[in-house]
Symmetry: C2
Subunit: 259 residues, 2 copies
Amino acid sequence: MTIAVFDSGMGGLTVLHALQDRLPSRDYVYLGDTARLPYGTKSTDTVHQYARRAAAFLMPFSPSALVIACNTASAAALDLLKEEFSALPVFGVIGPGARAAASGDGHILILATESTVASGAYPEAIRAIHPGASVTQIPCPLFVALAEAGWTDGPETEAVIRRTLLEGGISLPFSGTVLLGCTHFPVLRAAIQNVCGPDAVLVDSAQSLADDVCGRLAEDRGSGKIRFFVTDNPDRFFSIAPRFIGREIASEDTELCRI
Amino acid sequence: MTIAVFDSGMGGLTVLHALQDRLPSRDYVYLGDTARLPYGTKSTDTVHQYARRAAAFLMPFSPSALVIACNTASAAALDLLKEEFSALPVFGVIGPGARAAASGDGHILILATESTVASGAYPEAIRAIHPGASVTQIPCPLFVALAEAGWTDGPETEAVIRRTLLEGGISLPFSGTVLLGCTHFPVLRAAIQNVCGPDAVLVDSAQSLADDVCGRLAEDRGSGKIRFFVTDNPDRFFSIAPRFIGREIASEDTELCRI
């Protein structure tokens, strides 16, 4: 009863972490496409191709569900993968994140990668729930680099966040809902909250997705084991992963693969 | 008499710009591997594979020289490509950059990507010229994102540069030579100079490489035409390119290709 999770790299570990919190006895297989990261600056066609390869790689593990942890890949390729792999439930982060955002009050601010913003997937999903919702999206090209560099707080990080929001037309402090629409962004949560002020309510698509998966799949008595695969540079994966999953990842649990 | 130039994306346009300044009548073909960028976080094996594919793509244009504009690819794959494509001169940015840095006085500070730093290519090339040279390398994972976002100046950019240098153990102001060891970094030149102070001498491997190519290849009476190829997302290429090449790139000069 393995749950297969894929991501462009390490950001999806925040989703895996949220899943494990709720379904700790499940087995997991996680694929990080570190040879091609980031997806957030790539075109829809290219993300389609990468997502398809990632999903095909995971099928031999006979997963009982496939989770697209990456927001960019969810925005671009969820429908495609649902169609191609119709024998199992396929989850993406956009729907659950949009539901969490739409349940809040006031203006909704979506922070995401360039590609996720360009896709328009979040505003569309939010307006399908609340047609009159007031939504602003801001591409945050520096946030992934901040998260991967481990600059999760400090004045420089807050300065970058502040400038990004101001250039996106947001007045600070911000009161309303802030959707963290990229798996890297939860590690910047405290800094984003500081910049937005105490009246901003931050929601995290990783948590919403995990709630969603948990509602569809029961816990079972598996071993709780996780196998990690990366398409490149396992050493970089090991060094950065703890920021996203909150613990060390053992090198014997991780294999380099080509997809 | 075409000169073939390849890069992981748009940073190499700074090299193309420097080449065109010196050899304006040459024809150029430029390949930006935007489907796989950045190279700076990828492993040596993966960069080998990408560089080989990029070079193979360019061979049908019968170039009279091949220029590896990307520092990461030059550090990882110059020897490999020289061997595989021994019929034509193959240029990388490491040697010329190291010569420019070694000709200065005082301590040498190398700012580069994670992969270029990990390769040790710059310190090795500098110490081959000046065995006793005092060299510090600092990986600058946020600088590429700053350059691509167009945040070439301002307090946030200087704050990021300052923190990067301080975390790398550099005392500010810095007096000595600063090698801009990534093709993205020349667009941050003014901000880096401000942070380092007036006694820092910035050298740019793009300029040194162009001098080197110019010394080996004569000007000819070509049309001065450039053809651009990108492996993904031409729209993003058009929007970011002017920062690196100082002018607009026409969409009719650019083709999407698969390598």
